[in-house]
Amino acid sequence: MGQQLLNAIFFGSIYALFAVGYTLVFGILDILNLAHSAVFMFGAAITYSLVVNHGQSFWVACVLGVGACAVMGLVIEHVCLRPLRRRRAPPIAALISTIGLALIIVAAIEQGRPGTFFAWLWVDGANSVSFPPAAVPNPTWHVAGLTLEASRIAIIPISIVLMLVLGYVMRYTQVGRGLRAVAENPRAARLMGLNVDRMITLTLVISSALGGVAGILFGVSLGDISPYIGRDNVEVRGLAVIVLGGMGSIPGAVVGGYLLGLIELIALLARGSSARDGIAFAALFLMLVLRPQGLFGAQLREKV
C-alpha cells in the first residue's frame, strides 16, 4: 500500500511535468501540441543513445537530451505553427501539422537500426531498452518495508522545483508578463511592442524542454525506453491531466497530474489493473461534463 502510494506520487510527478508543457502551449496559443508526447519520447531516446551508443556520461547526456528537445521546440514552431499563423489557418490545422511532426519523430526513432540513415540517433528499432545499471547512479534504500530508489525519489523534488521556477517566471518576471500578455490577446500584445513570434517560440522551447525532462525521468526510473513510450503512457493521459486541472492553468496541471496518479491508484486497488485506465478516462469524462473549466480553470470562455 505504501509502495503503491509512492508509485502514484511518482507517476503523478511525471504526468504533471509532462502536462505543464502541454498546458503552457495551450494557454498561450490555444493549440493542442500533439507532438509533445513525441518530444517526451525523443528526450528519453536521445539521452539513452548518448549514454549507451556514444559513450557520454549520464549527466552530459541529460543536458544534451534536454537541449535536443528544446531544439525540437524550435522545429515545432518554425515548421508546424508559424507557417500556419502566417496564413491565418484555423487552429485545427495546427493540430494536424503537429500530428505530422509526431509521426516523423516516432518514425525516425523507429527506423534507427545499425546501418540505417538514423543509426547515429538510435539503434534499437522498435525495441524497448533500459539504461545499463552501471551508467546511471541509482542508490536504493529500504525503509520501513518500502523500496526507495534514488531515481524515483529524485523525480518528485525535480518536478516540484521546475514547476515552482516556471510559476515564478510566469508570474513575476518581464518575460512571464510578456507571455501572459500574448496569451490574453496576441494582437494587443503586438501593438504594445511585444515580439509575439519570439514569445511563442520561447513558449515552445520551454514546453518541449520540460517534456524532454519528463521523458528522461520516465526512461531512467521505469527502465522502458522505446519509440512508443510517449504515445502509450502520456499522450492521452496528458490531456486528462490538463482537463482535470483546467485548460491552460499551470498549477492546475500540477494538481491534475497528482490527481490522475491518485485516481489510477484507487482504480487499481478497487478493480485491478485491467480497469485502471478505463476508470481514469471515465473520471476525465465526468469531470468535463460536471465541471468543464477544471479545478483551477477560470470561467469558460465563449469560444469555438
Binding site: 493540430l95 486528462a240 485506465d277 468535463l288 461534463v289 469555438v304
Partner: protein
Amino acid sequence: MDFITQLLTDPIGFYNSHTLLIANIGINSILAASMFVVLYSGQLSLAAPGFMAIGAYTSVLMELYWRTPLALDIAAGTALASVVALLVGLSVLRLRGVFLAIATIGFIEALRLGVILNLPITGEGLGLQNPKADPLGGVNMVLVALVLVVFLLWRLTKGRLGHAWSAIRQDELAAMSQGIDVARYKMLAFILSAALAAFAGGLEAHLNFFVDPGDAQYGVTRAVQVLTFAVLGGSGNIFGPVVGALFLTTLPEILRFQGFNYRDIVSGVILIAVIIFRPQGIVGRGGLAIIRPRWWPRAQVSAPSPG
C-alpha cells in the same frame, strides 16, 4: 511505382489484387464522412471510433449468438450506437472545441478500456472471432454503401438541415438569434455521425475475421486518423473528407518501394506540407481554384473549416 502503373494500365487486375485496400478506402471514407457531419455543424467530436466499436461488436455478437442476417446485424449496431449517441450527446454537447474533443476521447477510451476490455462477452483483450466474415464479397457492399452515404450527405448539406448546421458552425449565437434550434441540430449531427460510424464499424467487422479491441482500431489513434482524413481533405463539403481518406489510405501503398524504410517519415512530411499549403484542406474553400477555367462559375458559399 508498380502500384500506379498497374492502376493505369490494368484497372480490373488492380481491383482484383487490391480488394483489401479498396475496402479500407471505402470504410475510411465512410468514417471520414461521419467526422464530416460533426465538423460541418461546428463540433470537434472525436467519438467516431467508440461508436464504430459499438457497431462492430453488436453486429458480430448478434451473428455469433443469434445467427441473424447481416443487414439486421448492422442495422441493430447502428440503432444501438444512435441511442448511445443520444445519451452521450445529452451530456457532452454543451462543450465546445477542444473540450468536446477531449470529452469524446474520454468516452471512447472509457468504453474501450473500461467496458470492452472487461466484459466476458466481448472476449476482453483477446477480441472476437468472426467466422462468417467475407473479405472478398464485402468490398462491393462497402463501395455501394459509400456511394449512398456520400449522396445522402451531399443532399443533406444542400438542404435545410445542412444550412442550419453551416449557420451553427459559422456563428452559434447568430444562428440562435435567427431562430435555429441549436441544441437540436447539434444533437442531430452527433447522432447521424454516430450512426455512420457504427455503420462503418459493422461493415468493417464483416470484412475481417477478427474484431480487435486495439488502440489502432477503436482508440485515440483511430480517432486522430479519422480527424486527419476530414481536415486534410477539407470539411467544407462532403467530397473533401472522402478525398482525404482516399489520399491518406493510398499514400502508404504508393510509398511502398522495395527496401524503402522511411514511409512514415515521408507520410509525415507530406501531411505537414499539405496542411501548410492548403490549411482549408485539399478540397477546401476555393476548391479547385488552381485548375478551374476562368469561365466556370465560382462557388457561391465559402465554407471555412471549423475549429
